[in-house]
Every structure is written in structure tokens, then in C-alpha cells.
Symmetry: C2
Subunit: 350 residues, 2 copies
């Protein structure tokens, strides 16, 4: 079984096509075919010279398939994934893996009883901005870190498809929150216990599902994490804002526009107060240049194709899968905790 794997994609919308694009690099996988219930998506695949299946059952029955990639509406991940695993296929779902931790437990059980690999495409662990911020923190460039703010701001509401519908697992927490939380609790600070969660959901353009949220997690050791998604933000706040005891990092998505400012000398003489219209302040006066130093953010190369390389290695028994069941469960429970916090207006112990 070693060697390139045959991938079938179920759900050939935006992300299905993205997977096809990646797989067709043919480095570690081959795209054996795609299936979508939408006629126009099948026509698009044919137009692109991609083999199509005439039904999901045909995918299930195709013994050449090594892995089924599921990139449908979120609520369909579970039934399709379990059916595929029960037919002996390995499965990769798009994120979010599914819409509840109870559903996820069923999917994990299907993986175990069939002895197949089941994982989820948490592609944003390979985002260059994330990996760079992770390295800055790990290198201690800011000193001990006590505050991490991760924000993604857009301004066109929720896309006008199933992402706006509750029954399909819509909403920004499941769409983007799942990435931002996975980055922090599974890759940036995986060993740091989450003590509490406070979250409020936005419903600016959509009453049915959240079109954004604000979430605060307190981690052990007094580290505060703020995760925020907004779709009515006509001006973006920084993608990352991180405070350590010796410095601050702030950057938009484009790291070349961001910076690190480190304190080189805590003691300052002759602080000049800022004069504002209605008062003065020394406390908030900007530091003088001889006590701080500005640095660019080091850029980290990344290749999201590592996800597929790892998948193939895991199938060949050469590696453990990177995105584990425990990690998926942790984030799913964290999102459920956030919704509970919003519903009850309270801080929830995690």
C-alpha cells in the first residue's frame, strides 16, 4: 500500500476544488474522482478533466480509493464520513470536523471499529503568519507571554450559502473560530490547561447563526487569550497582537506590515507627559526611542501540503497523524463551551 494514495473528493464547492488543486500536484496523492450532488459542480469537474462519480454509493464501492475527502456542508460530514469508514475507507473531512462533540465521538468510534484513519483538514496550522508568531513566542523574543489576541475581521457578513443556516452547521464560530482555536490550543500552547471560557456571539447580519464572536480564554499560569471573528468590520484590527513582559508583537495578515517592539531599558528619565485636550498623562506617554527597539517579524516558510504528506505517512504507518482525534474533540468542546457561555451569559470552567 506504500506510495501515492488515491483520493476521492465528496463535495466539489470552494474547498473541494481547493483540495483538488492541491492533490493534483500529484506529489503524494492522485485525485481519482469527485462527487457532488450539484449538477453544475459535476459539469465543472468534467470541464476540468476530472473523473466524476455518479453517486456517493459509487465512491463507497470504489476499492481503488484510499482516502475520501469530505468537503460538503458541515452537517453532512458525519453521515458521509461514517458511511465511508464503514466501507473501509480512510477519511479526511474539511473543518469543522462536524457540528457537535457527540457527533464527533460517533465518527471516532467508526474510525476505531474499522481500523481506518480519520482526520480533519486543519490547514491553517500551516498559515505563515501563525507559524511566524509561534516562532517569535517560542524563541522568547517577547519574554514570558501573558496576552495573545487572534482576530480575523471581514466586512461582508456570512457568505450567502449554507454557512448562514443553523441546520447545516453555519456560523462563524464553526467556520473560522475552529481554525483560530485549533491554532492556539493544539499548536501554539497545546500543553497549557484552559481554565475558563467567556464568549459573546454577534448577530449583526444573521439572527440564525453567529456572524462573529468575541471569546476570552484564561489559561493556566495567567495567560489570557482573546479570539475574535467579525464580519461587520470595515476596518480591521491586527490579525495578531501578543504581549510578553519584554515586548509586544502586532501585525496584520501581511507580516511585512507588522512589527515587534521590545523594551531595552525599563528605567526612563525625564518622561515627558502627553498633553491632551483635557489633561496630561505621564503613564501613557510614548516611550523614548532609547528605551525600546523595533524589529521586523521573521517570516517562516510553510507548505500546507505537509498535511497530505503526513496523511500518506500515517497511512503507511510511518508517522502519527498530525491532527488527532483528541485535538479535534478539544476544539469541538471548546466551541460548545463558547456557545454555552454566550447562551448563559456566564464564564464556563473548561
Amino acid at each position: 500500500m506504500n506510495g501515492k494514495k488515491n483520493i476521492a473528493i465528496v463535495g466539489f464547492g470552494g474547498m473541494g476544488r481547493w483540495h483538488a488543486h492541491m492533490i493534483r500536484r500529484r506529489e503524494v496523492c492522485d485525485l481519482i474522482g469527485v462527487y457532488d450532488i450539484r449538477k453544475e459542480c459535476m459539469e465543472y469537474a468534467e470541464h476540468k478533466g476530472i473523473n466524476t462519480y455518479s453517486s456517493f454509493e459509487e465512491v463507497l464501492a470504489d476499492r481503488r480509493v484510499d482516502v475520501v475527502v469530505i468537503a460538503t456542508e458541515n452537517d453532512m460530514h458525519k453521515p458521509l464520513a461514517i458511511a465511508a469508514m464503514d466501507h473501509g475507507h480512510n477519511v479526511v473531512t474539511e473543518k469543522p470536523v462536524t457540528v457537535s462533540s457527540a457527533d464527533l465521538e460517533e465518527m471516532i468510534a467508526a474510525s476505531k471499529r474499522n481500523g481506518v484513519i480519520f482526520t480533519t483538514h486543519q490547514n491553517r496550522r500551516w498559515d505563515g503568519d501563525f507559524l511566524s508568531v509561534k516562532k517569535v513566542i517560542a524563541d522568547g523574543a517577547l519574554g514570558p507571554v501573558f496576552n495573545i489576541e487572534s482576530r480575523v475581521h471581514g466586512s461582508r457578513g456570512i457568505p450567502g450559502d449554507w454557512r448562514g443556516k443553523k441546520e447545516h452547521g453555519g456560523g462563524m464560530m464553526l467556520d473560522w473560530g475552529v481554525h483560530l482555536l485549533d491554532q492556539i490550543v493544539n499548536a501554539l500552547l497545546p500543553d497549557r490547561k484552559i481554565e475558563s471560557v467567556y464568549a459573546t456571539m454577534d448577530h449583526v447580519t444573521n439572527a440564525e447563526v453567529d456572524d462573529g464572536f468575541h471569546m476570552i480564554m484564561m489559561l493556566e499560569g495567567g495567560v489570557r487569550v482573546c479570539v475574535e471573528v467579525g464580519t461587520s468590520n470595515f476596518i480591521e484590527l491586527p490579525r495578531w497582537y501578543v504581549q510578553g513582559e519584554n515586548g509586544t508583537l502586532s501585525t496584520p495578515w501581511d507580516l511585512t506590515q507588522g512589527k515587534i517592539v521590545r523594551c531595552t531599558n525599563w528605567e526612563e528619565k525625564d518622561v515627558v507627559p502627553i498633553k491632551t485636550a483635557a489633561g496630561i498623562t505621564k503613564t501613557m506617554a510614548p516611550r523614548t526611542d532609547d528605551t525600546i527597539k523595533e524589529f521586523p517579524i521573521p517570516l517562516i516558510d510553510s507548505d500546507v501540503h505537509d498535511f497530505y504528506r503526513n496523511l500518506v505517512d500515517a497511512l503507511d504507518g510511518k508517522a502519527n497523524q498530525i491532527v488527532t482525534h483528541e485535538q479535534l474533540l478539544k476544539v469541538m468542546k471548546l466551541m460548545e463551551t463558547a456557545f454555552e457561555s454566550d447562551r448563559t451569559g456566564s464564564v464556563i470552567r473548561f
Copy 2:
């Protein structure tokens, strides 16, 4: 009694000197003298040609005094203010009015039993940035507002004086939080009920008192307010970030560096996804220029001397005092609620 009022200042440090500077404009008040327990402060006053008292008792006994301005450590406001009122003097304290709502109730009682004016110098209601943001919101330039973020970020910790000591009422909540909360709950949205408070205090440079805090208030009608003070922020986030349904305002303290972006057309065609290292996003792609428009923030003139003008008018029975006892109590209870939220790690109904 109509006409200019004689002011005595008790506590001649930074803010006492600021009051002296304002009063010596001699527009509506005269500075009759100052008192401080510190010899060097008295010498400074004499050097500036300002009359000095040899004791607080001498201030109390001076029948020419109309108003005693108290600009000492926070914990001294109450005993000094009550003594002054019990001697028939009107009183203005620096902010915070005192260190607890119980203390404040005693001060209000002293004001009532002596029939004197008692108020607090909430000077930042006259900050130009605040008044401009207030006008933008009131004019409806952003549409219905659902999120208001007010931040003040510095990077030199707490000043190395009594502000770092709990016994003197130190800490950033009492020092700066009192301004930011007063602006929002007493001047920006005074009629909007506060439903809940969640706050976490920072102790990056000081274990005894908070050297910063993050506070989220949910107001009736679903308006979220975030108030934040930091003293370990080597890069500042915007002073104001306000979201309405039709636009966003973001600005540093200097409004000429800020902007408003309004949506002029919700529907967009041909959204081009952003390609990032590990994926694409249409949801978060920047808007095209034909659907948004950028505006400068209108600058509002303000004069904090209005505080003294109002004080004199109130003394003359021509106006009600701007900074009322009810407002002071509201903010004091709000700060106590924030500390309780931090202590218990929970959301507190207000």
C-alpha cells in the same frame, strides 16, 4: 456670592499643579492658596508665587475659601473632603472620587448635611477624541452601534509613586479605568442599562494592584463595550474602535490618524478571495473600493475649563453640577463589580 470663586488646592503634586494652572487663567476662579504635606511641594508653590497654607486646618479655617480642590492620594480624598465639607466648604476631588462606594456614600452624606457642593474632576469628559467619537455615534454616521472598544495603552508600568500601593487606592482601574468608564456610562450612553460585567486584571509589573485590565460590559439592546487599560503595551491598539451596522471607526488618540469606513453598497459582485499560505478566504477578503467609502473623523473643539464654569454656575444656583453624585456612584460600583468579576472569575450582573 455670585462672581469669581476662591479655590484652595490640597495636594500639590502633578494634578494639583494642573488645577492651579487652569485656575490661574482667572476666568471664573481665583487660586487663594495651596497646601501639601510635602515641604518640596510648598517650596515649588512659593517659587511660583502661589500663596501657601501652613496646615490643612488653616485651609479649613479660611472663610474666604469657596471651594477646596483635593488632589492627594486617592485614599485621602474621603477624610479631607468630609472635613472640608463639615467646615462649610464646597469640595472638588480629583478622580477617582474615592476608593469604594461605601466611602463615597459617606462623602455624599457630608455634602447633604452641610448643604455644600461636592463633585469630582472627571476632566476626560472634555477630551476632544471622546467628544468626537460621541458625535460620530450620535449623528448615526456608523448606523446602529453594537460594539464600542475604548483602550488606553502605555508601556512603562504604574508610576513609581503611591499609584502602585493598594493602601493609597493605587492601580490602573482607579487611575484610568475611572475615566474610561465615566466617559461611556455617564456621557456616551448614560441611559443604556448595564446588564453584565466581566473583567480580568493584569499584574505584569505589580502584584499588589492592577497595572491594567480588560473589561467587557454588555448593555441593554445587545451593545457590547470593551474597556481596556494596559501599561505593558509597547505597541498601542487604537484608542477607539467602534462598529455600527453600516460602518466602523478606528482611531489612535490623534484623530487625524484615524478614520471612518462606511459601507455604501452591501452587495458585491466578483469577490476575489484572498490567497494565504495555507488556504483561501472569500469571507475575509477586503471589500472592493466601490462598496465602501472612507471619511475623516470630524474634530470637536472642547474646553475642559467648562468644568470650572459649571462649578461656579452650580455654586451660584444657575446650573446643576455636571458630574453628579449618582454618576460617581455608578462608576464606583462598576469598578467594584469589575474587581469582583476578576476575583471570582465570573460574569457579574450589574
